[in-house]
Each structure stands twice: as C-alpha cells, then as structure tokens.
C-alpha cells in the first residue's frame, strides 16, 4: 500500500494505462510540460512524449471531436477538460457524436474515449471553475458517468474507464485532489463493469446517505457526528451515475427506511431527483420519510466568499438527516 493524494492516484492510473496499452493517449490544454493546471498529468509528457501526452489547441469541441476520430482509428484517447465550466463548448461532440456513434453504427464502432473533468467547488475559485454539471451527461444515453471519491478509487476507476469500450465522463472532485488515502499500486484495476457498482463507504442502520465524488467525505463526517449522538448512518458512495446501482441503493434504504442524497450540483433537476424518484419507486413501503435532497441552490455557482453557504456542508446535511428521522 502506498499513500497517495487523489490527484496522485489518478496520475498513477494514467501512467499505468499509458504503459500497458500503446493506444492510450492523453489530450488536453496544458497537460504536457505543465502537467495540467492541477498537475494530474505531471511527469507523463516527459516520460511518454508529446505524441502520447498531447497539448492541444484551445478548443474543447476540437479536443473531443478529434478524440472521436482517433478512437475510430483504434486509439483510446483520454481528454482533459481543464475545468467543469469549460466542458460546454464540447457539449455537441459529446452528446450527438460521442454518445451515439456506437448506436448509430449498430455496434460496429466503439468509442473508448474518456473525458476527465475536474469538477466541484470549495477551492475559492472564480466563476466557471467550481461547477458540477454531471447530471447533464447522465441524461444522455450512450455515456457512462462516474466519479471517484477516494485515491484508491481514483487509481482503479481511471484504469477501468480507459479500458471501457464505452465513452466515460470521468468527474474528478477537484476539492479532494489533495486528500490522501491508501492505494495498492500492484492491484489489478478490475473489469470496466466494476465502474457501475456502488460502494458501502460506511455501514449503518438508521438512515442512508447517498453521495458521490466530493460529498462522500462530507457524508462520512456527518455519519461520524451522528454516531456521537447515537444515530447510525450508512453511507453509499455511488461511484457511478450512469449506470446507477439501484440494487445497492434500494437494499440499503429498505433496511434503513430513510434516505438523504447529497451532491454539490443544484438540487433542481440534479442527480438527487433521479435517485429519489428511483428509490421511492423501489422502496415505497419501506420509506418512513421522503428521500430528502441536499445540494446546491438554483443559482449560478456563487462568488467564492459565499461558496460555503452554497455547498452542502456538514450542518446542512445534518439538518436534513434530522428532518428525515423526525418526519
């Protein structure tokens, strides 16, 4: 076991993928000599060269569009979008081309393209640098949408994503890039199907908190705080929004009878809506309270001095836990 940051673990996973498969290549803005603005590709340009770690022109549609062409030619491009707020110029290529080519071609074309997106807030950034647009991609058939919460998952999941025959939106919780954890660098990454399987991050009996990416750590803190007051909270780390591991979720909520979903994205039309609707359908007679959602408000990501009012922090999640338990 090695102690790594999340950024370091993803870096190690990328390195492993580059080593194992000559068809893997990284593309993006400033990922070469600079190593990416978060240094997630640090050292890779030096070791694998500019043909495999490619500094592209400043054009996100171009990055994803040429990645599609490269994938058609047999490559496995891993694109970095510099920040969440800059994925939108690529939206057309992702939605109408990347997501649909396999279907359009009746399975004759595979597009194993990974799009890495540092996302989420809490880092004191200016506009466009703290957003959580994951729900916009989960609604689009043909894409897989995942987010690791721990260094161990960062290392394994990036490799699974690259190995996946399908396009994967890989959302990296940038506010957790420097959080550390144990990673087994010798472990095999596991089959790409593992990407869709949720993880019980902490077992509990009274209430289930569903989280992914940056909010898993928050949920664990909430569980810790609640435990001190005698409440036993189970934390499910979804890992994946598309597919969604309804079975694991439903099993947990049937046991606990209470559920709170937490994400940074605005609640309105966010991932929590799908999760709540689905859990309610699957566990209708087990629920003792409605599934409550805690997340961002229906406002653009605010100025950084207010972001901690906007983000679902410990207090707001605890408040929802209380409301659910006393419903």
């Amino acid at each position: 076991m090695t102690t790594l940051t999340l950024a370091g673990a993803i870096n190690a996973g990328l390195r492993r993928a580059l080593e194992n498969d000559p068809k893997v290549l990284l593309m993006g803005e400033d990922i070469g000599a600079l190593g990416g603005v978060f240094r997630v590709t640090d050292g890779l340009h030096k070791d694998f060269g500019g043909e495999r770690v490619v500094d592209t022109p400043l054009a996100e549609a171009g990055i994803v569009g040429t990645a599609i062409g490269l994938a058609m030619r047999g490559y496995r491009p891993v694109c970095e979008i510099q920040f969440d707020g800059f994925i939108f110029p690529a939206f057309d290529q992702i939605t109408t081309q990347l997501a649909k080519m396999h279907y359009r071609s009746q399975g004759r074309i595979n597009l194993p393209v990974v799009i890495r997106v540092p996302y989420g807030g809490g880092i004191g950034a200016i506009e466009h640098h703290s957003e959580s647009p994951e729900a916009l991609f989960a609604h689009t058939p043909g894409l897989r949408v995942v987010s690791p919460a721990t260094p161990a998952d960062g290392f394994a999941m990036i490799q699974q994503a690259i190995a996946s025959p399908d396009p994967v939106l890989f959302f990296e919780p940038k506010g957790r890039y420097w959080d550390k954890g144990e990673v087994d660098l010798d472990a095999a990454a596991g089959a790409p199907e593992g990407l869709g399987v949720a993880r019980i991050a902490r077992a509990g009996t009274d209430l289930t908190i569903v989280a992914y990416g940056p909010t898993v750590a928050t949920a664990l803190k909430v569980a810790e705080a609640a435990a001190a007051e005698g409440t036993s909270i189970e934390v499910v780390d979804l890992r994946s929004l598309s597919p969604l591991d309804t079975a694991t979720l439903a099993e947990s909520v049937r046991r606990t009878g209470h559920c709170v979903v937490v994400h940074e994205a605005p609640v309105f039309f966010g991932a929590g809506a799908e999760i709540a609707a689905r859990i309610t359908e699957a566990c209708f007679f087990h629920l003792e309270a409605p599934v409550l959602r805690v997340g961002g408000f229906h406002v653009p990501y605010p100025v950084s001095k207010l972001e901690h009012d906007y983000l679902p922090g410990l207090d707001r999640v605890l408040d929802a836990v209380d409301r659910a338990l006393s419903y």
């Binding site: 171009g62 040429t66 599609i68 062409g69 058609m72 109408t96 279907y103 004759r108 597919p243």
Partner: protein, 379 residues
C-alpha cells in the same frame, strides 16, 4: 449570389469548359493525362448511375417508401471526380449527400436508403470501404476526420514513400458547414498537426434556403488559407478538374505534406431534401442556368468530341441503369421494419443496468399484449 464560373473568376481551376472543351493547364493537366477513353467512360458511368440512384430514391420517397431524401443531383462531377482520386486505404468522411462518393467507394448504394427509410441510423460498416457513415450534425465530422488523420500519422502510414501504404482522410461538407465552429476548429487541429486530411467543400451555393453570401463574403477556399492550409477553388461541375486537384491534395497529404482545403464550386440542382420547396427562395431562371451546365452533359460532350463513346455503349449503360433502378426499388421495398428490441441494442458496448432493466421491462410489457402489433400507435 454569384452564379458565375465566368472568365473573371481567375482562381477557378478548370480542365473542361462548360461545353466540354479541354483546358490545358501545365499544373493540373498532367494529373489527368493517364485518363484514357476507358477511364472517362468509367467516370461517366459513375455519374450516370449515381444520378439514377438519386432519381430512384426521390421517386421512392414520393411513393412513401422513404421518409426523406437528400439529392446529389448536380454534384456528381464533384463527388465522382474527387472520390476517384482516393485510394482504398484512404478514409472518407461524407456529410449526407455524397452518394456519388459512396458509389465510387464500392458501397452497395441501397444501404444508404436504410437511414432514409427510418430503419437504421447508419446502414453499413465504415471499414468495408473505408467510407464512414453519413453525419447529420453539420460540420461535426470534420473533427472526426482530422482526428482519424492524426491516428494515421501515429500509425506510421503517412509519408513512408510506399503508395500502397500511405494513407489520408478526406472529409466532405457544404458551404453552410464552413460557418460552424467545429469546421473551423478542424482546420486549426489539421494545420497545427499537419494532419493528412483533405477538406473537400462542395459549395453548391445553397444551405437549404440560404445562398452562400449568408455564410461568407469571400470565396470559401480563402478560408483555408487563413489557417495556413493550401487552398484552392475548382470547378465542381468539371469531373476532370475535381479529379486532378483532389489527387494532388491526397498525394500531398499521404506523403506527409499536410492538409488541403478544396472548394468545389457546383450547384445543388434539386431541392435541399424532399421536404424542401426551393421555389420559395430561388428563381427558375437560376435553376435553368445551372441545368444548362449539367456536369454529366459536360463529360459526355468531351467524350463525343474525342470519340470516346459510341451509341452501343451508351445503350448498354442505359440498360444497366434500368436494371440498377429495378434493383434499388426491389431492395428498398424488401427492407423490413426491425423488431422493437433493436431499439435497445448497442446503446453501450458493455452492460448498463438502466438499459438492461428498461429492455427487460419493455419485453415483459409487450408480452402482456396478445397481439403485439397493438403496441404500435404511440401518442
């Protein structure tokens, strides 16, 4: 809007005048020197059968056998000339009316009609003839072509000096497509990577109802120059000139010389699609002007002048076209509606719990109907 291929358009590359006389150009004539009578007849046949296909498809649409049809009428020279310049190992990215290119690549053309009949979003395996699927989102495939070309560079099949091995891509798009961000980004990526890709813009003077003047105030071939890409304008109704400039461009690309931008100046003689009504936006006189400059007639005039064709051959071709038409009609009519579960297939290459659940639900749901046909009807 400019209708002209007039002499003051000094930049227009022509090897055949509208009346079928050869133009001698030291730069491009050598590129067609090897095209003997047999080759010319081959080109003529390609164009004629492409047109026959187009006519049949239009008729089939009118009969309700197709939901929609996008004609290639009038663009046969641009398509056949450029398409014939490509090697089998080159990869072609069409837009959606490159039926002539498809024919030259060897695609069984009726496969194209699957998409327009509403039973397939694609219709063929791109690998079979190195001919990609039609792309309907304007301009988006220019980036795919560029990325594919970057893959060829990485595969070491560019500039090896072996003509059987060296490869390039060619992407087709319209005058309207030049306005899309994607198309311009493709020029950026192609230029900075010196990628082996030929941008073949068929300027048919219309983007549905909008004349090219709504997209650009200068000839479109100048666009490429702004990105540092060699660019030229060719008479798109001159099959020989289209062949010559494309073969030069592809050769440059294959040998490592990078991208080229070709504007083939032609005319969309038909409607945009069978849903369109051009009388709302253009004059009969304009259409007549261009009917008089039909690219197929032009080549025939040359062949007749040079005794490259006789009536017997033309009659034979006519028979072939008739049989081809018959084949198209029968084939299309035999295309069956796929079964409902086709809808759930190939969304993902691997398993996906949501799709799998929904598919299972739908199958169970369908079984609740005694008569499955009763599930049709929709809203």
């Amino acid at each position: 809007m400019s209708q002209s291929t007039s002499p003051d358009d000094v930049d227009l590359i022509q090897l055949l005048t509208p009346t079928g006389q050869r133009v001698d150009r030291p730069d491009y004539s050598p590129r067609i020197a090897h095209l003997d009578a047999t080759a010319l007849r081959g080109m003529y046949r390609d164009m004629l059968l492409t047109r026959r296909f187009d006519t049949e498809a239009t008729a089939l649409q009118r009969q309700g056998e197709l939901g929609l049809w996008a004609q290639s009428l009038g663009q046969e020279a641009a398509q056949v000339g450029s398409g014939r310049a490509a090697s089998p190992q080159d990869m072609i990215f069409p837009a959606y009316r490159e039926h002539g290119v498809a024919f030259v690549r060897g695609l069984e053309l009726t496969k194209i009609l699957r998409q327009f009949r509403g039973i397939d979003h694609g219709g063929w395996d791109p690998k079979d003839h190195n001919f990609h699927l039609y792309t309907l989102v304007i301009g988006s495939h220019t980036l795919h072509a560029t990325g594919y070309a970057m893959g060829m560079q990485r595969d070491g099949v560019v500039g090896t000096g072996d003509p059987q091995r060296d490869a390039a891509t060619m992407v087709y798009f319209g005058d309207g497509a030049t306005s899309q961000g994607d198309t311009n980004e493709a020029l950026v990526f192609a230029a900075v990577n010196n990628a082996p890709v030929v941008f073949f813009c068929q300027n048919n003077q219309w983007a549905i109802s909008e004349p090219t003047s709504r997209q650009s105030r200068v000839p479109l071939y100048r666009r490429g120059q702004g990105f540092g890409i060699p660019s030229l304008r060719v008479d798109g109704n001159d099959v020989l000139a289209c062949y010559a400039v494309t073969s030069e461009a592809l050769e440059r690309a294959r040998s490592g010389g990078g991208p080229t931008f070709i504007e083939a100046f032609t005319y969309r003689m038909g409607a945009h699609t069978t849903s369109d009504d051009p009388t709302r936006y253009r004059s009969a006189a304009e259409e007549q002007y261009w009917r008089d400059r039909d690219p197929i007639d032009r080549l025939l005039a040359l062949m007749k002048a040079e005794d490259a064709v006789d009536d017997a051959w033309l009659a034979e071709l006519d028979e072939e076209a008739t049989a081809f038409g018959e084949h198209i009609r029968t084939t299309v009519r035999s295309f069956e509606r796929p079964s409902s579960d086709f809808m759930f297939r190939n969304v993902y290459a691997g398993p996906h719990a949501i799709v799998d659940d929904e598919r299972a639900w739908f199958e169970a749901y369908q079984r609740t109907f005694v008569d499955v046909s009763a599930t049709a009807g929709g809203h």
